[in-house]
Symmetry: C2
């Protein structure tokens, strides 16, 4: 029973359903793991063991009385602390909201609890889900950042505190921490998971996703968070988007390649070479040459609107880097904002021929391994384009550099999330 | 001897020269005043009584041996802590430069010591001479800001710690604190006082000026700081710009008027009414309707260039409001910057007819009395236009509101500093 914390969500859910283990035993094991490891990792900001065990015991009783409520019955999950929870504080990573207690759960939390999940606790986010680091350390090396903004969620899953944890991405906040911590991170297509009750940073960009230790787990997790009618409900329908066999993947360096570290570039090119039978290098369409500033214009202007009032009212409680971005965002004109958003459809159309010919794009998940130090959460250079486009992306822990994990990022076409996850599962299986 | 600290600089210099008092006695009195009052006012950031007394005793010896070195022989002065001094630290108001010890005195310090002045100590500046408040309190009411960025200099002169103190202005950093603290503040024409060895914020705007308790004192002080050949050397030459008699002054509300508080507007209009024989209201030329953003574009872009690297390297040591401005400044294009500067000559030309018909412009020095609290140093709304134009401006403590002082600002034509000071002296004399 000591090792229950290492179970995947799918394994755990199956054992609970079959009454092999109880949710209480699983949650107890996770809490023990947290007690052991969190003094170093610091992935959690609000944890109430009594509340977690109370949910677990209730799940065990419901199961015996009425059967499982849903596919995550009795399975503990971590919730990023920008997602409202009625029974635990939600502080959005800022002292401005210290002790804030929302009146209601976010929709995504309701979807999880409706499927039987146990809300284990709230995980550390950066300041307002932007760049200001929280306290979390990389479990693979506590001298390095776990990435951000979903710092605690990625670290908690990587360190087996919990099998699943919610992350959100506006630039690179799901995929980058997944790469740095060595877990599977999945950012579904824009709009798949409902955002009611979640801190709003940028309406056209904010996307909820999640972390697990297998592709199947993140697929299960995100489909539950999506609340039913989602493009990634598994198993795939017979008419569904099952990938061709053998796989055919397009390696794209993207305009971010030059920002990559040498160790990452080497590892990526080796990965491509080792999978030469299914991966070929393709150039990005020329339309993408000048897209570097589009996501930034949208995000920074929206940050200025969303967080500018905090800076004006609580200047001493906002970090300098966020304040700088508010300043930059205040300089983005309505015209620039609209123009930046207007290019999105055209760019997705320019990608369509690639998705006709290939099952997915392959590209780095981050510039390099997790940077040393906790002062920065690293660069989202390999992420923000995909967030802007609204396409699904998944990071797979298939590379290493400097003794640290490094993610291979797979990118799919908008709305074809299930197909991307099938491809990801196949790539994982063929690489392990 | 107890009351020597209340002497004006001119009185003190005369008494020292005539051997009525010694510099040591005067400096001792100022140090006693500081010891009594600075625990509340906190105007000083670096004060070394031994070093001050050492200079004073040397001045007394030189005087007896060789006569006065210059017009400030033996007179103590305060130096804003963005001006390099070799014998005292110069920290520029930021922890990033804690303990910084420049190798040499700034040119303006050399000019002062060459004229016999005693460098009493370094006065508190806001963070990098921008808006982040220092520790200084308003001596008239310690619950209120002294204004900034020359916070300590204005407060020290107002509270009779020292007869003269150096201030600098890039937006409203000399004139606003003068208004809030109730002293005479003088910002000469752009370029009058040399800036070598002074923290650079914005090359086209940074201007060194000073505080005293009389117009004659600031005239004497700034002429010494200018180092000789300056447009304000007093007494005026026979060909000089002696004002017409009687005075004729133009009250201009300027586009900032709407930002003024009601108490200030009332006091200003009453002042104009009480001086109806010499002041008439005049509208600003229409050219000025859209000038609100010009100074800001120049200052903020230059701040981004000058201080951006500090934000990048020391993000935790830069205040959020400064970081925001760095962000805004990074969004100012070279074209916008050049366009903003290009309008300056035309605007000065548009003012020329006013200066033909009037001895000076009269306008508020600040939006209202010193704001309550120490979290902000108040608004430079009534100052930045004049800084941008490079015209001389002086604040006279001739109004009150809420039991606090309020300055009348007089503005002259570029280069006609001596005439402006003559006018200011006449206005002071006629109002007291």
């Amino acid at each position: 029973m000591d090792e229950l914390h290492i179970l995947t969500a799918a394994e755990a859910a199956a054992r609970i359903r079959r009454l092999v283990i109880t949710s209480e035993e699983l949650v107890t094991a996770c809490l023990a793991r947290i007690a052991l490891r969190d003094p170093v990792v610091e992935a959690w900001v609000h944890l109430d063991p009594d509340y977690a065990l109370e949910q677990a015991r209730a799940a065990d009783q419901v199961l015996k009385a009425a059967g499982p409520r849903g596919p995550l019955h009795g399975v503990p999950v971590g919730i990023k602390d920008i997602v409202d929870t009625a029974r635990l504080p939600t502080e959005n990573g800022t002292v401005i909201m210290r002790g804030r207690r929302p009146a209601a759960d976010a929709q995504v939390v309701r979807n999880l609890t409706a499927a039987g999940a146990v809300i284990l606790g709230k995980t550390v986010t950066t300041e307002l889900a932007f760049f200001g680091p929280g306290k979390t350390r990389n479990p693979r090396n506590p001298e390095r950042t776990p990435g951000g903004s979903s710092s605690g969620s990625a670290a908690a899953v990587a360190d087996c505190h919990v099998p699943l944890a919610l992350g959100t991405q506006t630039a690179g906040s799901v995929i980058r921490p997944a790469s740095f911590c060595g877990v599977v991170g999945f950012k579904p297509s824009f709009g798949v998971v409902p955002r009611d009750g979640v801190l709003a940073q940028s309406a056209p960009l904010d996307t909820i996703g999640g972390y697990g230790r297998t592709v199947a787990d993140v697929a299960l997790f995100v489909s539950v968070m999506a609340g039913g009618a989602s493009p990634l409900t598994l198993p795939l329908s017979p008419s569904g988007a099952r990938p061709r066999h053998p796989l055919k993947l397009a390696f794209v360096r993207t305009p971010a390649w030059g920002q990559g570290e040498a160790s990452m570039q080497e590892a990526m090119l080796l990965f491509v070479k080792n999978h030469a039978s299914v991966i070929e290098e393709v150039a990005m369409p020329a339309d993408f040459d000048d897209t570097g500033g589009l996501q930034r214009a949208v995000q920074f202007r929206d940050i200025a609107r969303a967080y500018g009032p905090y800076l004006d009212h609580y200047p001493h409680e906002i970090s300098a880097k966020l304040a700088e971005v508010i300043g930059i965002g205040r300089g983005v004109t309505d015209d620039e904002y609209r123009s930046a958003l207007a290019r999105r459809d055209g760019l997705n159309a320019a990608l369509a021929p690639l998705f006709e010919r290939y099952d997915a794009l392959v590209t780095p998940a981050a510039c390099g391994p997790a940077p040393k130090g906790l002062g920065s959460t690293g660069s989202p250079a390999f992420n923000f384009l995909w967030t802007y486009l609204g396409v699904p992306a998944v990071s797979l822990p298939l590379m290493e550099a400097e003794g640290m994990p490094l993610g291979v990022q797979l990118v799919g076409a908008v709305g074809r999330d299930a197909e991307l996850l099938e491809v990801a599962g196949a790539v994982m299986a063929s690489s392990q």
